[in-house]
Symmetry: C2
Subunit: 568 residues, 2 copies
């Protein structure tokens, strides 16, 4: 029993569709992108009646397999204009699995200016008037919804910036403890949800019995083998201790840590914001702090954390690498307390920390405030909160901020700010930024952990291609990228898990083929939307301006990059 809920917002009609037998293994990003490619006009107005917002759970959703309950959210991106999938942890996909829901499609536009909540339980799905939550920040909204619908519901929701259709608005999802802080941040999907006038989707899985597992014993065995692999993996152990912040030392030494609006790749205050500092700070302060926290049911990596203030009171959870770099080193800010506050503010207003970190870095380069001015950065968040014109501008993301303020150094591809890896110093990821179907995402094809010379151009197109296929495969399964090393010696487990759940034959190669087909489908959508292969490149300054810390420019051959999707 696996179904798709289709909600037409103009008519209010809610339809239930059965997932057909031949679509059993099409989940997560494979499903969001399939629906978009088949049903959304590539040249449509992103905020018009022809765009759709899709939530899709992964293949293992609803089980407690580690790292396996990411929620894929997709649509034609308001920020980039490309097809988009942004995924997040939390409990939303888990509860979709429990409820036997593979996907939720929001389509059409409401004819009246009223916000709604989509509430779904075992028996029914309902659109509920929600004007009382209008302009309400994310945390307060989540609290009120939990009071109203029960502490255990999963919520996917937007903040005031999503309602305003700000292009850097993301979609927040509640975690294991109900914090609305697991963000599908990228691509402005929060603005798309805002245009549909849906403040939140609430899932109540009370009395739900899904997912029906074909071979529970097999699943149990595989699950414990997988957990053993995770717990024995040294690299993943570092994730457990330091979280993603462990990356700061790696990129800083590579000259790849975005610093002062990507003008350099090492930060003289890196030790103030690295994994060790984060770990020590959390441990020393105690209280509500927690250096190792899981964002999804069943996760044994637990790379998330809870960052406390001096008195041990929770400031934000999690504080992650991309945020630490974009709102930290990229703004010249070497203070975890300030970064944590900025992170909280982004979360609360409904914003992507990467694009906002990029926007603040660009505003600093334009002289709005100085690099390193943490108090100033917090004031800029207040500008967003107060919805001033400067605030509106910043909330539209780094690319528009740079264009309006006349800044030349805009580290973006297709209008989306790059994640926290300078592409001159991690060139494989530079290829991903340039060629991804999604704009400059790191999760679209992460190469930084590959054992290659990241400063060299040679081979990086192949590295990025492999990473894009693997990463997309995980997005389609609904698994976190971090689990990939645990499958290194047993890739077939990925398919075995699917077989155990669905009782149907599935091979690793099938999953890989779904990934490749998804990438080609996305690419074709983008072509139809007007994106040319010539746009698959980085901003000029990465080719001409040497990163002083890596002492490199980006020099991967354009011709080679153009062939990245020429799959056999």
């Amino acid at each position: 029993m696996c179904k798709i809920l289709r909600i037409h917002l103009e008519t209010g009609q809610i339809k239930e569709e059965k997932v057909s037998d031949d679509q059993t293994f099409i989940a997560g990003r494979a499903l969001t992108s399939k629906i978009i490619a088949e049903e959304v006009d590539p040249v449509c107005d992103v905020f018009g009646e022809n765009n759709k917002l899709i939530f899709a759970a992964g293949l293992y959703a609803g089980t407690t397999i580690s790292c396996a309950n990411r929620i894929s959210i997709g649509g034609k991106s308001p920020l980039t204009g490309t097809i988009k999938e942004s995924n997040a942890g939390g409990t939303f996909a888990y509860k979709m699995g429990k409820l036997g829901i593979r996907a939720i499609i929001l389509e059409g536009l409401p004819s009246e200016d009223h916000m709604k909540i989509l509430h779904i339980n075992k028996d029914t799905a309902t659109l509920i008037p929600a004007d009382e939550y209008r302009n309400m920040p994310v945390y307060e909204t989540a609290e009120k919804l939990k009071e109203r619908f029960g502490e255990k519901v999963a919520i996917s929701l937007i903040g005031p910036t999503g309602e305003r259709k700000s292009l850097a608005a993301g979609i927040a999802n509640t975690d294991n403890e109900g914090r609305p802080a697991r963000y599908a941040g990228r691509g402005g999907l929060g603005a798309l949800m805002g245009s549909k006038k849906i403040k939140a989707v609430v899932l109540d899985d009370g009395y739900a019995t899904g997912p029906k597992v074909a071979s529970p014993e097999k699943l149990k065995t595989l699950r414990s083998s997988l957990n053993k692999e995770i717990l024995n993996n040294e690299a993943l152990g570092r994730f457990t201790k330091y979280g993603t912040a462990g990356m700061v030392d790696i990129t800083n030494s590579l000259g790849a840590l975005p610093t002062k609006n990507f003008s350099r790749g090492s930060f003289d205050m890196a030790e103030e914001i690295n994994g060790n500092k984060l770990y020590q700070t959390i441990c020393q302060r105690g209280g509500g702090g927690n250096p190792s926290h899981s964002c999804m049911p069943g996760c044994v990596i637990r790379c998330s954390n809870v960052f406390p203030d001096f008195d041990g009171a929770e400031v934000v959870a999690p504080l992650e690498y991309e945020t630490i770099s974009l709102l930290g080193s990229n703004c010249g800010i070497g203070d975890l307390d300030i970064i944590a506050k900025l992170n909280y503010q982004c979360n609360n207003l409904g914003l992507d920390t990467i694009d906002i970190g990029g926007a603040i870095g660009i505003a600093m380069e334009a002289g709005v405030i100085d690099f390193g001015d943490g108090a100033g950065a917090l004031r800029l968040m207040e500008e967003i909160e107060s919805n001033t014109y400067l605030g509106r501008l910043l909330a539209s993301g780094g690319s528009r901020t740079g264009q309006v303020l006349g800044v030349r150094r805009i580290p973006a591809v297709k209008g989306q700010i790059m994640a926290a890896y300078d592409p001159r110093a991690v060139k494989g990821l530079g290829v991903t930024y340039a060629t991804s179907t999604m704009g400059a995402d790191h999760t679209a094809g992460q190469t930084v952990r590959m054992p290659v010379e990241h400063h060299k151009a040679d081979g990086q197109v192949e590295n990025s291609k492999e990473a894009q296929i693997t990463n997309t495969m995980h997005d389609c399964i609904g698994t976190c990228l971090f689990i990939n090393p645990a499958f290194a010696n047993n890739k077939h487990w990925l398919a075995d898990l699917a077989m155990a759940i669905y009782g149907k034959d599935c091979q690793y190669e099938d999953l890989r083929n779904i990934s490749k087909a998804t990438l080609l489908k996305e690419r074709s959508f983008n072509e139809q939307a007007g994106f040319s292969i010539k746009e698959n490149r980085l901003p000029e300054f990465f080719y001409t301006e040497e990163n002083p810390d890596s002492q490199t420019v980006f020099d991967v051959s354009e011709k080679e990059m153009e062939k990245i999707f020429d799959f056999e």
Copy 2:
């Protein structure tokens, strides 16, 4: 003796190049686009060292043939990212002709942050320090430069918004009386000039003897035949009386007059801003007002005007149709005095009235001020003047303003706001907006005066194609589009004039072929810059939202539009 001046701004080197014999008839837009296509990397950073700004005079420059001294200015557009040529009247091209200069190329980027003036006379070209003019408005700058370099110089200059690299900044050119009000407004070329840190180019043609005319008698005869045709042409006579403002009644009755951010096509106050009202107002007020004024040496159409205030003091010259509509009806403002003040402010700050009119209309739709609020619109101009963040946003043009403010109805193509013809009601021009190599320009292929049914889709691709070829031909010759009817029965005169001047064989078909080749070259540049044929379309709302006054949507076939550049 026809030369090209090449100014390298990093080295300060100024080189003189001879126009080779086989390039005799490559002038105006044919030349700016040729240089860009051959020398500018299509994917370059518009504000980087690889973009170039080119001023090119037309074929008849320096003579007093009517309507024949337009200045073509080109580069890769900061606003659209496409190749761009924007042309204007005034005396700049005339003096280039007198000085024997076919083109001026500004290339490279100065390494230091100092503004310069490029001063050119009969003997030499010099870069002069100009920091004293920094942030100085356009009119004051022009006055100071005339005081310094003589009343008779021609000046092409930018205002504070160009210096700030605001994307809606244009380039002002002085007219017959030295007013810096003939704008090459479109495409943000003022921002490109600002990025080159050139505040002004000053031409002193004292003692200059050009152009050397091969057959002066023949030229004289042709000139007087042409003038006779102009003076006997009834349509052109209306231009002389009412100026371009005569168009208000035509578009208003077609439902094509952009009204309240293109939400409708007729304006209930159209009679307050039409040609007759303009003419009567200017005549009644007298003083410095003038209903018929020529912007270029030798022009006998004289469609320009000088608009006076109640006391007869000049407010602005000229007040033209596109401005009257975009800053007037499009903002719900039915008051010529307010429109004239807004026009003056745009001119003085260095801005394109079309994109700023679009931006204000969009800001009105976003609720920044109300439609029809003239005092509010003037306050918005003060925001630009004071360089507030709202001002910065507006000065970046309508497209970014709409994106940042979350407005869906953005009447732009490739980031550039449409001129004053609703494409649902003048569908041929809609095809031009969609397919032009330049974004939504009306002068790229004007169909409104063709004797066709403008509300019908049928045949409009052919109409636009013919208009694009003809209009581009005039841009390449340096002639004003308005003169075209005077050649209706004697198209060969266009070539005969060139033969009389250059003493070389030239046929009408040659000029038409130069136009076609230019269009194809521009198109190829755009393709290399990443523009796909799929981007040749209008915003979605023109296809889905009926214009209530024309009762039409835009319904020209995409497939047909894709073939518009398939020249035989």
